[in-house]
Symmetry: C2
Subunit: 178 residues, 2 copies
Amino acid sequence: MTDERHPASLRSASVRPGKPGANPLFLRDEELRQGIEMLFFAYRDFTSEPDAILATLKLGRAHHRALYFIGRYPGCTVSELLDVLKITKQSLSRVLGQLVEEGYVEQTQGQRDRRQRLLELTEKGRSLERELTENQRQRFARAYREAGAEAVAGFRAVMLGMMSDSEDRLRFDGENGA
Amino acid sequence: MTDERHPASLRSASVRPGKPGANPLFLRDEELRQGIEMLFFAYRDFTSEPDAILATLKLGRAHHRALYFIGRYPGCTVSELLDVLKITKQSLSRVLGQLVEEGYVEQTQGQRDRRQRLLELTEKGRSLERELTENQRQRFARAYREAGAEAVAGFRAVMLGMMSDSEDRLRFDGENGA
DNA sequence: AAATTTACGTCAGCATTGTTGACATATATG
DNA sequence: CATATATGTCAACAATGCTGACGTAAATTT
């Protein structure tokens, strides 16, 4: 290291975040910025290990998302998946096409409405989804365990408040959380 | 809607997440999956408005990240920024090059080590960063206000637990949080 | 003083994943 | 029968990651 500072140098004396100064809003600003940064770091790390597994299969994060939600809502339609992911049908179509072609996902015609393609994971798909998501589950399990039940409730409340769409919030509106 | 179900149809009776069944781990699994999904939805919405602003300027999310952290740590080096973002120097170089060329960021030679390029926002850069981040700050402000101080502490504890790198956790280790 | 390492940059190519726009087909609905 | 809906497809483009190779200046080590 040429730099005499510690690796975590951005925290150290020579470089300080922001300008405390005489700003009366500093505490609030600092608190909000820490929230922004925590979300960034947490999400970055949350996705990194599944991404590494996916890369060995020549798949990407978008494939994980599709696998995840199809596994979560077996028999869901393409429209419903689009609504969850909030991407264009062309983007999803590409990803879904690959997953079907490689045998991770099966499509069956809707009985109620035969225009619909109902989506389900194959055994191969379930297996991959489990492998990918297991890492994220464990990350949450550890974080939840270390933080405690009260913290989990707080986390959930903040996350709900971050969502734009009340439809999305409703997915979690049970008295549950456990 | 051809589909007789409510728009939030993935929650309704016809399609249910998972298979409760006789699995004794169901509650835990459900709790962890809700965490995964909340993080996904929150992050998706957290980034969407800044992304829309960036698009009008022919910039992307990566530019926002760079602007954000340069604004946060004025005078930081390229290496430090790489360490925070955890991307390759080639990826950052492209983004940083554009930001410098378009007058959002200035580079000055390090005094201690003249190989270093110390990064700072110009007034134009500060202005854009403020505009982009303001949306995210307000989102946090609202979520924090609605959830309450105790929830914020819980949120922070869970987020810290999600991070892989203890160096990152140390960025938040003050007795603060406010 | 010479050798090596470090900080940073550059060029080239490639993959993933998002976008827009246009067009097609089958099915459902009024 | 007309129209709307669910889905798919082709094409092109942009942002943002990646790898690999190579280069230069400054600091550090031997």
